[in-house]
């Protein structure tokens, strides 16, 4: 079985977001770059399948040379092959990224394509299902349990009312959610081995224009000044509901 894991490099979730003075782009100068948190479950699930079923695991990322760090990290965790769709700058448009990925993997015969259920940051939650559509294959998104049997998958995915059990044919796109597994950390042996592995650059054959026009970036408006409620717990409780009923008019 051949497995692909698509990785996105994002600012660490502790990052305080700053916007440039023109309000057109994020100021990412002091950012610590990491693998998107949801992608860690994707890598882990792939590594477990490699260990239990002898699958080979390829990882892929789209972007400038900095994204080679997340590929290197996945190699340290045990991935067999790393593919780098190299672009001149950071590529954030979900349709463009999905198209580049679909074109890069179309003829490589993957049975399973893992993605994080969303890239922390852009929060589009789109690239996985877009690749599924562009390749004309099945999908299950926001998956917390995955079982494979004879060319098929059975996935449990989070929905409002509980878990949906989705069954489908391979090849398929699976987007992963926290709860699927406990991701491992790379060990020293893996890190040393990864340094010797090649990262294959896949140059773009065509450059696409973005599907979305980013017109403006702003910080959310500051919240109105709040106030402290004093007294005994009973008095605080009374004061709160009086405020919620009279000022907020919630109840």
């Amino acid at each position: 079985m051949k497995i692909l894991v698509a990785l996105k490099q994002v600012p660490d979730t502790e990052t305080k977001i700053k916007i440039n003075s023109e309000g057109t782009a994020l100021d990412l100068s002091d950012v610590k770059w990491v693998t998107s948190p949801y992608d860690e479950y994707a890598v882990e699930e792939a590594m477990r399948l490699k260990e239990s079923q002898g699958a080979t695991v390829s990882v892929i990322a789209v972007g400038d040379d900095r994204v080679r760090d997340v590929l290197r990290n996945a190699l340290a965790l045990g991935a067999d092959e790393a593919l780098h769709v190299s672009t001149s700058e950071k590529c954030e448009d979900p349709f463009v990224v999905a198209t580049y990925l679909a074109n890069a993997v179309r003829d490589r015969g993957f049975d399973l394509l893992f993605f994080g259920n969303k890239g922390s940051g852009g929060d589009h939650a789109a690239v996985g299902p877009m690749v599924a559509e562009l390749l004309g294959i099945a999908q299950a998104n926001v998956v917390v349990k995955l079982t494979l049997e004879q060319g098929r998958f059975i996935a449990e995915r989070q929905v409002e009312s509980g878990l949906e059990v989705v069954e489908g044919n391979l090849p398929a796109v699976i987007t992963t959610q926290k709860g699927l597994n406990d991701p491992r950390y790379p060990n020293l042996k893996g890190i040393m081995a990864a340094k010797k592995k090649e990262i294959t650059a896949l140059p773009l054959t065509e450059s696409l224009s973005p599907s979305l026009q980013t017109l403006k970036l702003t910080l959310p408006p500051p919240r109105a000044e709040g106030r402290q409620l004093s007294g005994t717990p009973q008095e605080q409780a009374q004061a709160l509901f009086v405020a919620l009923q009279n000022e907020a008019k919630i109840f």
Binding site: T13, E14, T15, K16, I17, L26, P37, Y38, F95, A98, S120, G122, D123, H124, A125, A126, G128, P129, M130, A132, E133, L134, Q139, A140, V159, E160, S161, G162, L163, E164, V165, V166, G168, N169, A172, K178, G179, S211, L212, Q213, T214, L215, K216, T218, L219, P220, R223, G226, R227, Q228, L229, P233, Q236, A237, Q238, L240, F241, L244, I250, F251
Partner: protein, 323 residues
Amino acid sequence: MILVLCEVKDRHLKKASAESLSAAQSVAASLQVPIAAVFLGAEATGHEEAQNYGAQHIFTCFSPNLAAYSSDLYAQTLITLAQEKKAKVVMGAATALGKDVLPRVAARLQGGYANEIIEILPGSGSFQVVRPIYAGKALMTLGFGDRVAVLSTRPNLFSLQEKKETAQIETLAAPTQDFKAIVKELLAKSTNKPDLTEANVIISGGRGMKEGANFKILEELAEALGGVVGASRAAVDAGWGLPHSMQVGQTGKVVSPTLYIACGISGAIQHLAGMSSSKYIVAINKDSEAPIFKIASYGIVGDLFEVVPALTAAARALKLNGA
């Protein structure tokens, strides 16, 4: 034409879908095109309610082949309709289903996909949308140029706009049952409560709850207020047996209830990102310096194990359940 994918719950139009239709009205006014509601499923119920929210057309496809949800079959049906009607906009609610099917539609239509939008900025001949990025740490204003816009509206953020229309109801040909993946079963939660993303009132607990069993006092307050219980990442990761589906924050759910009560949550930046668009925030914490107080509408410095039961008692006395 604007296609709005609508969902039905308990035989009625889902509130989140009514919100999508309401949001579609300002897009329709900008582009001067009609709104069409689209219903896919097994049986004919609830769809006529779409004409209360501005739908001038209703397309239905009720077929045994669509009884169980299939992302690719639903996407194909929407794509075919969008192409036939030369739709300029395809939208729906940012529900589990909407977020599953709309990216596929966008990819095939080579459209611009903006999910979880929170605002529409109408214009003359075009429109823009605002959506949060970094779980709400920043907001992005987007335009679509000549591309088809594919949008999902975040639940609870668009107010319902009643606009009575008399819609034509058209039946679409059922797709063949040639699906790639399909839902076989729903493992329903034991409670009938709404999901965090749809809840009006959320009571959340953090590290200050000390152990999972103590969430019982939050359940009691939630019961008294007609709300649901959430948790911070610290609480979910503490090994207290809380499922990740309860987690609010940058790596959990982003929520916008009317009332969010944070109990024993200090307010890490990742948590604030997930809940700071709540309309009213109440923070209960022992530490008066906790960052959560900076964004709270009402702050209570105190021991949550005394304050929360006092809130429950007061809420019961006021009979607030039913909010």
